[in-house]
Symmetry: C2
Subunit: 246 residues, 2 copies
């Protein structure tokens, strides 16, 4: 995974930006990436000219305006957004809730659209924020549909979290829980991500049955009982399979 050519090395600069580190001083980038001074400045110049980076007041760099523009364009071309948004609006009309679609990519789960009708239940996962793999209905709805070879290492990496939400003590027990989720076709979680909120999620599958996204409804625990959850689960699954078709 370490960059082997100069093209990957330029892009490597973009990889270092994360929620923990939104601003980088050139000096730190040199140290962190191991590029020489002229090389780093060359890269920065190119990335700034492309608008992907910009320099903030104190000479350090942050992500730039072209990123913002590209996200707008990505919204226009994303099949999940285009086909999913009307469904989300319908869900939020029917229930006082938070409805969202999250994409599965490279061991990350990323929110791509969300709609809300619940006044005080604000989603802590807006568009673009990656979500943990170990907790929540969304993660489970996706993991349960992965092939075993893909699933097992993920379980092992997140065993502490998975254990703490009661999916089993050992990796094998967790895998059995996942099987049950797969059979049900959806996952339910009580307050695993947001206290007091119930999450109900179903996977969007591609034509080979591999998960590519998840549809999730989050609703205040006080608003639903078991039967209510079942009803929502049916709707969520319907939406997910509808999106799968496209």
């Amino acid at each position: 995974m370490k960059p082997s050519n100069s093209l990957e090395r330029v892009l490597g600069v973009l990889e270092v930006f994360s929620e923990d580190r939104l601003e980088w001083a050139p000096e730190d980038l040199m140290a962190h990436l191991g590029y020489s001074r002229p090389t780093l400045y060359r890269y920065l110049k190119i990335l700034k000219d492309a608008g992907l980076l910009m320099s903030s007041r104190n000479a350090s760099v942050t992500l730039g305006p072209r990123v913002v523009e590209m996200d707008y364009l990505a919204r226009q071309s994303d099949a999940l957004v285009l086909s999913g948004q009307p469904h989300l609006k319908a869900l939020t009309r029917r229930y006082s809730c938070n409805a969202m679609i999250l994409r599965w990519y490279g061991n990350k789960i990323l929110c791509v659209v969300s709609e809300t009708s619940a006044k005080n239940l604000v989603s802590s996962y807006p568009r673009g924020r990656p979500m943990p793999l170990g907790r929540g209905a969304i993660a489970r709805s996706i993991m349960a549909f992965l092939p075993r070879a893909r699933l097992v290492p993920l379980i092992e990496q997140n065993l502490d979290d998975l254990r703490s939400v009661g999916l089993g003590m050992t990796a094998e027990e967790v895998r059995q829980s996942m099987k049950r989720v797969r059979r049900a076709g959806h996952a339910v979680a009580f307050g695993e991500v947001t206290a007091g909120a119930v999450g109900i999620a179903a996977p969007v599958l591609d034509d080979r049955g591999a998960p590519i996204a998840s549809v999730c409804v989050t609703i205040a625990g006080t608003l639903v009982d078991g039967a209510g959850i079942d009803r929502i689960a049916i709707d969520v699954k319907a939406v997910a399979s509808d999106i799968s078709a496209a």
Copy 2:
């Protein structure tokens, strides 16, 4: 502006995505960019691995999930968003309107945040969408604060639009109109971008007095008279200068 090295050429692939063309077939990219087949596929592979591109069903490519993630990060680190958002919330609390901040970069005006309290006045410029230079209070509030050398070519490029909104028949007359905007410290536009809407915008200036952004309130024309507009203009200018300070 034509790429001179391989690093700029890879990034050149990202430049071709626009509102008019959200999806590209590799074959078309080869023709459009003039890269050979192996080279183009090499570039695509690298950009896909970085998550900046992804391939859609029909083998063509679109912007990818890392773009979405980077926009989320950009939101977290953007001083305009961080310092501006509370102000926008205050403005929308005070008036039934649409309040937004737009960044000026590379001859483009790009929305970075927007808040709204008006039910049926939906902004047609969400985050990331570039806005025309020839129409609207926002464009004018920025252009009026550019140095003459920068301003004149822009006026000439957009003369048709500028004329059609009544800023003057010749470039020189338009420039005089801009001077008046500059003296007033804000721009007002009636239905130039959205029919029936009034736009009131003031520039955010850096420490050298160069415009870097604009604060704009859009409100239904039926809700305000001249005095109302003046009141809003004062608030908008206050917000803009407050943001300028940071």
